[in-house]
Symmetry: C3
Subunit: 277 residues, 3 copies
């Protein structure tokens, strides 16, 4: 992917200021909203079934995050998912904790099967759980190591492509090395900071930002997802670089939002480390 | 309004340390609680219908914010609203997203019609939606431009006064220029920072602080609401003034709470830009 | 208690990186998650009755915080409490607002009576309400002054021991002076900062951290609870010591997480002020 495509994706978010409807967990909702605002988009959070159809109709994308799912919010996700699908809005699915409970695995799998999910964004364990659960037999896929490393990078890319082919969604598996793939192409992104794992919500924020990037250009979902993932990674590096000796994960969290606020096409093009796999 | 009235309002919050019952959205609840604590008040969040009557009875004011309303919290708002009305507690209504969905418009309208709302705090679009929805015909009022500007300031003040006269509530319409009015008087407040629109919750925090100011002096609701709005605006300016080159909306959010923490009568009297319209 | 016991408790959290299942309020959930991550543990928030049994089974401890309890989360607390009790996991109960509403007092009391609560962490008013409510007659106990002071320290310790003896739980009553007791021993901890009362969530974060410490060593609950309380207090002092003139409660909140992030056995042993009562 040429760097200019990444820069253009960032610029398009600033130009179009998309509204993003988020049904997300209450643990990281504040940070998700602030991340969306920082990157030039606007959040609307709503999970009440009676409310979500009107809300999602106003927006350019829908983000479904099952981090603190409950009976009411699952009903809200279904109603919003159906409406967004009908309207052709991109849907980002963040299967938080898929594999950790039957309810999470089944809910994520159902959302994926029933609605027009455009992007799946999770860690490798979650995407594996989702891939297994969404197979016809609900059996467990072959078990790739959970961490993406230089050694298993090609295997991980092949797995991501396979899930993308099966689901029709762009698949973004994030970790120390991020892998983003559609059915035909896969990219490795080597940005980010280990401190992103020491705060809550780095993944949730990324899923929301991915929704904003998708809304800004839903005709180029692979490019926009790579740009979102790289933006978050570069922001993590910028945040870490500012930290002083007494600073810790609290300050990092604040600086991460600051970095998203200052992100632009030039910064992203200069610092993104994206390679075709 | 004389500056001293503003200073006295801030001081009364510090002196009386009012408890404020908030039924508010989960996106900004943390920041609302921290804003209330920073300005010398204390928050209690509770939205469960079985819990809210006891809780609101202990408090000096009730804030109803429909940002992430759901069936359960709407029931909680009704029960709390009825109790607070019966006790004569000031109620602040923040109609987040009124106009964006039928449920939000109708819920905000119902709360306004059924309970003793003392202050409505929203942006111009929300207050317009609420004003239209609460009219007998549910028709849409004449459409004033959504942004309050020097050009439409008198018209905006007249609109705010009309809503105040119709509802019996003080009306606070916030934006680049804030307008606060009762049926007879209107004030323009020209404090604040554009960065307040780049974080989530500036409006929600203001609604909660307005509740604290109202609880501290419910006999002078217009003055206390102007003081709350001006406090938030001056805090935004103080926060922006501290920012360095790498700081962004993350740091601004932290500094805004810091500024509320340091706010006092002298600072407010010196920096508030309040003019009768 | 010898300082080395405290240092070892901190180290054990870093070594074992326990998963902690939190059913907690939406006001402070973000800060609770970030505090757990900062101290080397990992949070999972889940309150849906259909989800909690699977989730709590994966974890090393369960924290029940009734700060924004509702019908659904109470059902979740019951299901999780029963499962954690069956599995022998330590349970930390934070009776937020017990005494402020009948629902809170009764719910906290029921959770304490029905499930294997290992640690009660609250302020004196909450623990008093809980102690009264859990008595057979539901009468109100003799009324010790709510603030623990040098004057009533022995009386407060005796009260904490009595509650511990009656409930079988370690009791942590926090305030300007913290008291932690089991049925036989009591300790006073004189760390902390007055600013901890000016942010929301200092108590909730402590309850979650107490869960992490308990999970890391559930064979020494008194020691691990004292270590958790002292860690939070020392972190509060470290955060306050960093503050500049314009900093306020917003910055303090960030620095508190930073301090938890940097906490280790050496720092804790050097700064903890723990005395047997």
């Amino acid at each position: 992917m040429e760097p200019m495509a990444l820069g253009r994706a960032v610029a398009r978010v600033h130009t179009t200021t998309p509204l993003v409807h988020c049904i997300t967990n209450y643990v990281t909702a504040t940070d998700c909203a602030n991340a969306l605002l920082a990157c030039g988009s606007s959040p609307i959070m709503s999970d009440e079934p009676m409310d979500v159809e009107d809300i999602t109709s106003l927006c350019g994308a829908l983000v479904l995050n099952i981090g603190t799912l409950n009976a009411q919010s699952i009903a809200g996700m279904r109603a919003a998912g159906a409406k967004a699908t009908a309207l052709g809005h991109p849907i980002v699915l963040d299967p938080v904790g898929a594999g950790a409970s039957a309810l999470r695995t089944e809910t994520a799998s159902e959302l994926l099967d029933e609605y027009g999910v455009s992007v799946i964004r999770g860690n490798m364990s979650e995407v594996k759980a989702l891939a297994g659960a969404s197979a016809t037999t609900r059996g467990v896929d072959a078990d790739p190591a959970d961490a993406v490393t230089d050694e298993n990078l090609e295997q991980s890319a092949a797995f991501a492509k396979k899930v993308a082919a099966r689901t029709g969604a762009v698949v973004a598996i994030t970790g120390a090395i991020d892998v983003v793939a559609d059915a035909e192409r896969a990219f490795a992104i080597r940005n980010g900071s280990p401190l992103m794992g020491k705060i809550t919500g780095a993944g949730c924020m990324l899923s929301c930002i991915t929704g904003a990037f998708a809304a800004a250009d839903d005709g180029a979902l692979l490019e926009s997802t790579v740009a979102a993932v790289a933006s978050m990674g570069v922001a993590g590096q910028m945040a870490q670089a500012r930290m002083g000796r007494a600073d810790g994960s609290g300050t990092f969290r604040t600086y991460l939002i600051d970095a998203l606020f200052h992100m632009n096409g030039d910064i992203l093009e200069q610092h993104a480390m994206v390679k075709s796999i």
